[in-house]
């Protein structure tokens, strides 16, 4: 556990984002969920606030903050719309690898528009063969005429239909031991042969678009290659491992806070046998559990984020935070549903959405089983209290 305190600026950031969310997101979140539409137009506004490029240095048009600030933004957005939360968190996986592995030219070319809200970012790694089977990717990249030709199909890609600038991984050969060599490319919307395919109909995290990205003889120039040839696995894993999962964790902290707030509101307002149900111990036990899960998830999530801000290894801490937050957001929303009785299944209340969003968060960025494999490997190889 890495202890830290929010800075004054981070507290102000939370207040500012909350104000924006209360005005622009909270009133429409249920509608986005019901109609399953992503409010792309809000990216421009969130860009102006600095959320889109929250962790990007100012020289590339960002807000110059870090992972803790990013988690604050995602928690606040997801308190009302986890769907928009995952759209934003996936957007971040566009500029992040470019910032980390891109050349100065690539950074200057792509990142400012991703920060301002002019463009939406995406990361396309997962394939029908599986998301976690990284080296089993079938998408290919061939060197041709001084550039690259990409072919294949990516699936379960968040922002598939709205991303303007995507980082895409493809197999570009084999190393001397015969293992597949993956490389990462920056591909822009409108490139011939690069298209969004099937759009998924999801249980939760609606209000974000998830679907296929199809690459048919997509010709990209040599300078579309991100990092070196063969860096693809590293780039993809790094973005998903430390940014994607940390984002999912923060999104579920937002859902958990929603559960706490709705539990307090409902149990104080609902009168049964002449008094609010919050006076009943059976209800109090549930409220106490939901609150405790929220606080624990929050501590783990922000602690892992602050490790990253301090430049320390955090993949295991992020995996634990993601595992805990997603599972307990699911548990807490089910408990809240029980607490609310019949009202719990009425869609006028957000609790059903919380539960669906929490469930959909579990496989996003790696399932709980994958998280446990990471945590176990880390623990068994050298647990130090």
């Amino acid at each position: 556990m890495h202890f830290f305190e929010f800075t004054e600026e981070q507290k102000m950031l939370r207040k500012a984002v909350r104000e924006f969310v209360d005005a622009e997101i909270a009133p429409k979140a249920a509608e986005w969920d019901e109609k399953d539409v992503c409010p792309v137009e809000l990216f421009k506004k969130m860009g102006e606030l600095g959320i889109n490029g929250i962790f990007v240095p100012e020289q590339y048009g960002g807000a110059g903050q870090g992972s803790v600030a990013r988690a604050i933004c995602l928690e606040e957005i997801s308190r009302h719309s986890a769907g928009l939360g995952i759209a934003m968190m996936t957007h971040h996986m566009g500029p992040y690898p470019i910032l980390l592995y891109g050349t100065e030219e690539q950074k200057k070319k792509y990142i400012p528009d991703l920060c301002s809200g002019k463009k939406v970012g995406g990361l396309a790694v997962t394939e029908p063969g599986g998301g976690s089977d990284f080296s089993g990717q079938k998408t290919t990249g061939e060197k041709k005429d001084g550039g690259w030709v990409l072919n294949g199909r990516k699936c379960f890609i968040t922002n598939s239909h709205i991303a303007d600038t995507s980082v895409v991984t493809a197999k570009t050969g084999e190393d001397e031991k015969g293992r597949p060599k993956l490389s990462a490319f920056i591909v822009e919307k409108g490139t011939k042969g690069f298209e969004a395919g099937r759009k998924e109909h999801k249980l939760g995290l609606r209000g974000s678009v998830t679907g296929d990205v199809v690459l048919t003889d997509v010709k990209v120039p040599a300078d579309a290659l991100l990092g070196k040839e063969g860096d693809g696995a590293k780039i993809g894993m790094n973005a998903i491992g430390e940014v994607g999962r940390a984002g999912m964790s923060a999104i579920c902290v937002g859902i958990l806070r929603g559960c706490v707030e709705e539990a307090v509101k409902f149990s104080n307002e609902r009168i049964v046998y002449g008094k609010p149900i919050s006076k009943l111990q059976a209800i109090q036990f549930e409220v106490a559990k939901i609150r405790t899960y929220y606080e624990a998830a929050r501590l783990m999530t922000y602690s892992a984020a602050s490790l990253k801000d301090d430049g320390k290894p955090c993949a295991n801490e992020v995996a634990m935070a993601k595992y805990f937050s997603t599972e307990y957001a699911t548990d807490a929303s089910k408990r809240l549903m029980d607490l609310m009785g019949g009202y719990g299944v009425i869609n006028e209340y957000p609790v059903g959405r919380f539960l669906r969003d929490a469930l959909a968060s579990i496989p996003s960025g790696g399932t709980s089983h994958i998280m446990q494999i990471i945590i176990a490997a880390n623990t068994l190889s050298g647990f130090q209290p």
């Binding site: 102000m12 500012a16 506004k45 102006e48 110059g64």
Partner: protein
């Protein structure tokens, strides 16, 4: 032409937590301990108006507040919205002020800023009323103290171009019960800005970072050296709240027993006695 603009702001308890607000039965003041504060909503509209004026004409936006020490947090937020400099007038001696003592204190704060800067404020804006006190008196009182023309409930502030001497004429609109009045004015003036006059901008992360390095000065009673004690704080407040109490909203039920006929008869009698039902 550039304007020196002052905006008076007040931290108020967040309306979302009004259920936790209590009134001290002895001091008759609002107990705010533990309740988060925010910028009084009409003040935000005034800040936005000031920022728009500065963006159009140049000049500076200075914010001033009379508040407890934690009011600095609110002022930092106003700086993050885009104001240039902030002043907090904070002292126990200023506490418990009514609107007159508040406007007097603000006047001497503004005077001290003017003396330090070597200019006079051209435009002084206030939120029309506060979310907690809601008297809507301070802007007019401040106008009187400053001997500037003043208007309240201002819902529009537009430029009508400049006169022969290059001085800008403003078209102002004030809300009335059944419509509005139009006014033309030239600076200096004091305005009470209505909450819906502008749509206040959201605070950006970049604004928050810039606010860190903007000047925020705290002055206490002694710093307001031009102010006289007799007009400050609770002792300097001519208005004092009378009795404050929560009305008794208790309801009592009565269980009626007997045959249906007897119960109906009894209900009818009760309703007649209470005046709800009259006649046969």
């Amino acid at each position: 032409m550039p304007y020196n603009i002052a905006v008076c702001v007040k931290p108020v308890p967040d309306p979302k937590h009004y259920d936790r607000v209590t009134i001290d039965p002895v001091k008759k003041t609002i107990t705010r301990a533990g309740i988060p504060t925010l910028i009084n909503p009409p003040d935000k509209s005034a800040i936005e108006a000031a920022l728009q004026l500065r963006e159009r004409c140049g000049g500076s936006v200075v914010v001033i507040s009379m508040a407890p020490p934690d009011g600095a947090e609110i002022l930092r937020e106003v700086l993050a919205m885009g104001a240039d400099e902030a002043f907090l007038l904070s002292d126990r001696a200023l506490g418990g002020a009514d609107t007159l003592a508040t406007s007097y204190t603000l006047l001497h704060g503004l005077k001290k800023i003017e003396a330090a800067k070597g200019f006079r404020f051209d435009i002084v804006l206030c939120g029309n009323e506060t979310a907690d006190g809601a008297t809507a008196q301070v802007s007019s009182q401040l106008g009187e103290w400053l001997e500037y023309p003043h208007l309240w409930n201002v819902s529009a502030l537009e430029s009508k171009g400049t006169d022969g001497e290059g001085k800008e004429t403003f078209l102002l609109r004030t809300k009335m019960e059944n419509g509005y009045m139009e006014w033309t004015a030239q600076t200096p003036f004091v305005l009470g800005i209505a909450r819906d006059m502008t749509k206040p901008r959201f605070t950006s992360v970049m604004g928050i970072m810039k606010a860190k390095n903007k000047p925020l000065t705290v002055w206490n009673r002694a710093d307001l050296d031009t102010a006289e004690d007799t007009y400050l704080g609770l002792p300097g407040s001519p208005t004092q709240p009378g009795v404050i109490f929560s009305p008794d909203l208790k309801r009592s039920g009565e269980l009626l027993t007997g045959t249906p006929e007897e119960i109906v008869g009894r209900i009818t009698a009760i309703l007649r006695a209470s005046g709800v039902v009259t006649g046969g």
